[in-house]
Amino acid sequence: MTEGTGWAVLVLPLALTAFALLALAADAAVGVRVAHARRSVAAAAADPWREVARLLVGQRRTTVAADGVLWRSGVVTVPLAALLAALVLPLGGFAAADPGVGIVWFNAMEILGWAALWTAGWGPNSPLSLIGGYRFVAQGMCYELPHMFALITAATGAGTLRVGGIVDAQAELWFVVWMPVAFVVYLISAAAMAFWGPFDAPLGRDLSGGVVAELSGVDRLVLLTGRWLLVVVAAGMAVPLFLGGGRGPLLPAWLWTLVKTALVLTFLLWSRRRFPTVRMERFTEVSWLVLLPLTILQALLVALVVLV
């Protein structure tokens, strides 16, 4: 795998944001159909841009006796965590970096988002935000372990923690074929990690926005953009881990990567509309008694195949 230098670190954030904005526009267009609104799809597709402008112009607020440092650092860390996780994300045969511990790096950066959302919820000294922040901590207890087992299963199958190596190991057979459980669990945990519906309780409507209940203006823009970046990066990572990276007939590798990422992202967008918010109070048992043993069995199976 080729590693990028200089310009890659500038292009990567812009490319991710552009991809996220496209996805947002597509999602807004679908929303028009659902809402049966009397406006054109094209007008709805422009909504994300209008929203960006609105939030840039909007007044920033702070709340009485807020913990400004924790609050703002949590807000900016969400997009930064997504961006840093994208470091190891390959586009075809190219990645900004392909360190020997790529999988661990990706995992560590996601966990940064875990802390970030909690501090963003704690900061404004508002009960609804606070509850939202704590909800995400509880959510982490449920998605993180199955998520790590899914990552490790792919790494075990390839015998390396290097993302490029994992892609190479799928030359003959995509991992999704013989690690279906790990793939499905990865998708579930990816949504949970990005506090994305149906795992959006930290930003729940019942909490009037939860963690973002007190965020206005550019601060709100930054956190919500960070959330979209997290979703895009999580969808993008499914491609090298399970879907054979840039492999495919006819099209060039970079285009295949984009197509597969878009497909995974479409699934995540669909599931957000499809399911009600899953409360951790109910999900914990499913996660610990079903998903966790299943991923361990999947890892065992892969380890046995590797041995033979």
Binding site: V34, G58, Q59, V64, A65, L128, L207, F275, T277, V278
Partner: protein, 312 residues
């Protein structure tokens, strides 16, 4: 609609601003970031007023300023024993009157430890000052000698149920279904043709009934032996069943006697002051919101469909 003042641009007061609401509305207005606009609408002028507001907003102007000072010097949360006898911090969080997807006029004062409701107390409707009852409109023409049809009565009850369902699904974070319920409600109010409504509503009902996720998430929530029937899941199913029955009447032009249809068993007898504290205490925040959304708090069986005044 924005979920919180921080995300809002407009504060719209529709209908009369009763004394009980003046202070909360002013407070919300102060929390809305600039540029912002304050709009008051009476009947039939919604469109015009909102157009003006959007012009004001696009110029970045301020339509009406609240002013006022921000108080500092909050006190720290006090402590109280939890169910295991541990002394823990308690937060006092009032829910309502101005909360999205919350029944109009309801105020529940909760005491939270973590996100569990330890204690709940409900303001009576009189204290809150609920405005005039919108849901009596099929009988508005009563004085004018116009005929009231059972189709019209079914339509308004459907609107009411879709409003309640939309609230329940929204609180549950079921975006798509909540939005579809809202669309149907609005189209019904505008007098959409019944075949169209029937087709879409039946599809919605089937979808909710088939959802195992929905049942899994709402079963065993808000059960109480004496005061209410079933849990959130079964109360939602009861609404769906009632809607299915109402769809049959939608085209009927049979006149309805002026004293309204029989009260029957159309809704759960609920007196919020008595029931809500019992139901909410010991639940966690999200469940509490679902429980409130699964009830029709201002409705008692003798009130259903009656054109007369409310006795409470």
């Amino acid at each position: 609609m924005a979920l919180n003042p921080a995300d809002a641009d407009l504060v719209v007061v529709a209908g009369p601003l009763t004394p009980r609401f003046t202070e909360p509305v002013e407070r919300i207005w102060r929390q809305v970031p600039r540029p912002r606009a304050f709009v008051r609408v009476r009947e039939h002028e919604v469109g015009d007023r909102l157009d003006t507001a959007s012009v004001v907003l696009s110029r970045g102007g301020e339509h009406e300023d609240g002013g006022g000072e921000v108080r500092n010097g909050l006190v720290m949360a006090d402590r109280g024993t939890d169910r295991d006898g541990l002394a823990l911090d308690r937060l006092h969080v009032p829910l309502g009157p101005l909360l999205p997807n919350w029944p109009a006029g309801l105020v529940v004062h909760t005491t939270l430890q973590g996100d569990v409701i330890q204690h709940a107390q409900v303001d009576t409707p009189d204290e809150v000052g609920v405005g005039e009852d919108f849901w009596r409109w099929p009988w508005w023409p009563a004085g004018t000698g116009e005929k009231i049809t059972s189709g019209g009565v079914a339509r308004i009850r459907l609107v009411e149920l879709l409003d309640a369902l939309g609230r329940l699904f929204a609180v549950a974070g079921w975006l798509d279904v909540a939005m579809r319920a809202g669309v149907l409600r609005d189209f019904l109010l505008e007098g959409a043709e019944s075949a169209w409504v029937r087709r879409r509503l039946l599809r919605l009902i089937t979808r909710v009934r088939r959802s195992r996720t929905w049942r899994w998430l709402t079963a065993e929530l808000g059960e109480h032996r004496h005061s209410v029937v079933g849990d959130v899941s079964t109360r939602c199913s009861a609404w769906l069943n009632e809607m299915e029955r109402l769809l049959v009447d939608l085209d009927s032009i049979e006149s309805v006697p002026l004293d309204g249809p029989g009260s029957g068993d159309r809704s759960v007898p609920v007196s919020p002051q008595r029931v809500l504290p019992e139901l909410l205490e010991g639940t966690e925040f999200a469940s509490a919101r679902l429980i409130v959304a699964s009830l029709e708090p201002w409705r008692s069986p003798d009130e259903v469909g009656s054109p007369g005044g409310v006795d409470d």
